[in-house]
Symmetry: C2
């Protein structure tokens, strides 16, 4: 039940200061120390195709045992990438057996040519493993608008396939990184029906992070056997408060996808109705997704602070999310967080401009950690700069807003806006 | 009819690189070279009250001749500042004779205490000039959440009042600056009804800029006599495409206000109906507002590029604005602009996530300057990196999006996101 330490081990306040993004620098990421639990029936293989980065793995094949079920959600960006279009089609047609993932090139904004290349990669993997092309779901992440190098990708497929292994998670988590500084893996083991099942997931993501009905690339698997409809419900349940409640920069990617696989290799657990075993599975999947989502924000481009924004007392969920995201996306709030400056007036201004109809500002209360900063329409009378400063000096900061209008709450995770965010994104293509 | 050069004279690509914001450094801003046209019946006086900044003017009094009319629009931020509340009340009660403006302190988020101080400043100015307190409209700009120093402000009032002068515009434009690097003034002189009338305006604003139904502080005046209802219509006409179509960081201020004054000192022009003279006046006011709005974005915190975003072919104005602001607020687009990187995939991704229902991406076209970058769902076949780079190297960049859904267009002005934006806002209160 213990969380995998890898995703949290980054010292964010110093690690990003030098902007030494291993993935950008083309260095091989060390994965031997990563803790995780393999999932029976799910094998992962990795290879270096040289798609963009030299000297590192950038291609992953995931194999699901026959009889597995699989659910996926995708980006809501209208300019979704070729692999998103193809994966959606294939998923609607048949039960997938393989996932094919590359980093370094998003195959987005590539028109008909991009679709042709994407279909060709599926056909190539199908030929290599002996399945049909529509049993392959393709995924790409990286720079938008460049042609995916088909020859280099297909040339690396035999290496990835021959290396398929249930212990392949750490290498795969490293291979899907782009501007990430750390691979992100999470595992849970739960007891159901007298046996133990595993839920393990990996994710990548660091910038262009504001998932919407989907997420940055994330892959979660269990060895339970799960009815496909229930598996999809489980995924949606887990994605809403995790990947769909984080933001680094408000930019929703063209390639976001999250996949939940159930291999059924543990034949003692067969879930066909929403029973206690299903509930336990959903909670474990949720925990894995929450841990990965948190790891993505912590590894946000240039991030030095992890910030949790809790909005309570809203009339409905839309209102709560509107306020939370207005704070989370405010460049002024984000730069104050970077500076550890308890400039609470910027939080107040963000709440005020969030577009809540007929907001009674005298009823609004705002806290920084446990310190009440706003009450009765202005600064809380007992607030002191020292108390605010003490919260701001922390690496993880909570902002809580009570709207005092209703009973709905929401929680959003974000990070600060630093020089390095600008640096990373100004230099991304150079 | 020639535009005032002051607001445009800043070399944005180098001036902000050193982040030498005169107003922050407490230096006196040189105004003797500013070109403007005084408005008969409107006098401005300035003083140094030491509200926040040492060694510079931070207090302005504007006097309107008896019989003037005055229209104003204010921020839509629910947490609007005390002076916004008081100015709205006074405007509803009577015809204002004086505007009282301070920089260095926003008197926002200050609750009942802030209201009391604000009312006291109006009372003090009324006593000094011999009018009633509700004939004074108060305005404040600066840091949020600190108590406005009443004693220092009132002590400086006699100096400001004794200096009231029709030529006071340049000093006043400098006194209302906060993080601005240049004062912003614009003038037009138009011929109507056989005589010549003047429209002159000033504005301040550099960060927390995303006016919504109002603007950062701006004051525009004419010597024509104008019916109050028509004057308000004229202001709304001019504000929509100017101040309400700019954004630096998406953060709507708590203190935004725009005032249009008509002194009636030129008795040859009396506008009481929407005739040709009124139309000519509206166009002149619009031109002045456009020039000031453009100057605000050019002087945006950390800005090195001025970016015009034109969205055409939308079903309605809301859709067009949604797309334009999604591009304008995208940190990824803004950092690419800063880097002069023709990373057009980020523009495509922003259009795709703007929330346009059932957007047919094959019909969308996007241009960088005159260079078509996106067509038929992907990169335009004839696009070259060199052509995109040539546009990106310019100091002023146009992004044009054709949605191909309807006939509505909108235009939004914004700037890039640089290291200096982070620096200015991380250090603002220190």
């Amino acid at each position: 039940m213990s969380p995998v330490p890898v995703a949290q081990e980054k010292n964010t306040s110093s690690a990003v200061a030098s902007c030494s993004r291993a993935s950008c620098a083309g260095e091989m990421v060390t994965t031997q120390e990563m803790d995780f639990k393999p999932v029976s029936g799910i094998r992962l293989g990795t290879a270096a195709a040289g798609i963009k980065y030299p000297n590192r793995n950038d291609l992953v094949v995931i194999e699901m045992a026959p009889g597995s079920s699989c659910a996926a959600v995708f980006t809501s960006n209208a300019f979704c990438a070729a692999p998103v279009v193809v994966a959606r089609e294939h998923l609607a047609e048949t039960d997938p057996r393989y996932l094919l993932i590359n980093s370094g090139n998003a195959n987005a904004g590539t028109g008909n040519g991009g679709m042709a290349v994407c279909n060709a990669t599926c056909t190539a993997l199908a030929a290599e493993v002996g399945c049909s092309a529509d049993e392959v779901l393709p995924f790409s992440t990286g720079v938008i608008g460049e042609t995916l190098p088909l020859d280099r990708l297909t040339a690396a497929l035999p290496t990835a396939v021959s290396g398929l292994d249930e212990n392949g998670w750490p290498n795969a988590a490293a291979a899907i990184m782009t501007t990430d500084t750390v691979p992100k893996l999470a595992s849970r083991r739960i007891d159901v029906a007298g046996t133990s099942i595993t839920v393990t997931g990996m994710a990548k993501g660091s910038g262009m992070i504001r998932p919407d009905m989907a997420t940055m690339l994330a892959y979660v698997a269990t060895d339970a056997k799960v009815d496909p409809g229930l598996l999809h419900q489980c995924l949606e349940y887990a994605v809403a408060p995790s990947f769909n409640s984080i933001t680094v920069d408000g930019d929703t990617s063209t390639n976001d996808a999250c996949v939940l696989m159930a291999s059924g290799a543990n034949s003692a657990v067969v879930i066909t109705e929403p029973d206690a075993a299903y509930t336990a599975l959903c909670e474990a999947v949720l925990e894995v997704c929450m841990e990965l989502a948190r790891a993505i924000v912590k590894d946000g481009e240039g991030a030095t602070k992890l910030v949790e924004i809790l909005v309570e007392g809203a009339v409905d969920s839309a209102e709560a999310r509107k306020v939370a995201y207005t704070i989370a996306h405010s460049p002024l709030v984000k730069t104050a967080l970077f500076a550890s400056d308890p400039n609470w007036g910027r939080i107040l201004a963000a709440v005020g401009r969030a577009g809540v109809e007929q907001l009674d500002i005298d009823g609004v209360r705002i806290w920084l950690g446990d310190v009440c900063i706003v009450r009765d329409g202005g600064r809380a009378p007992d607030y002191t700069e020292q108390a605010g400063q003490a919260v701001m000096d922390l690496g993880e900061i909570a902002i809580r807003v009570e709207l005092n209008r209703g009973s709905v709450a929401t929680r959003v995770l974000t990070c600060d806006l630093s020089y390095d965010y600008v640096k990373i994104n100004a230099e991304y293509r150079t």
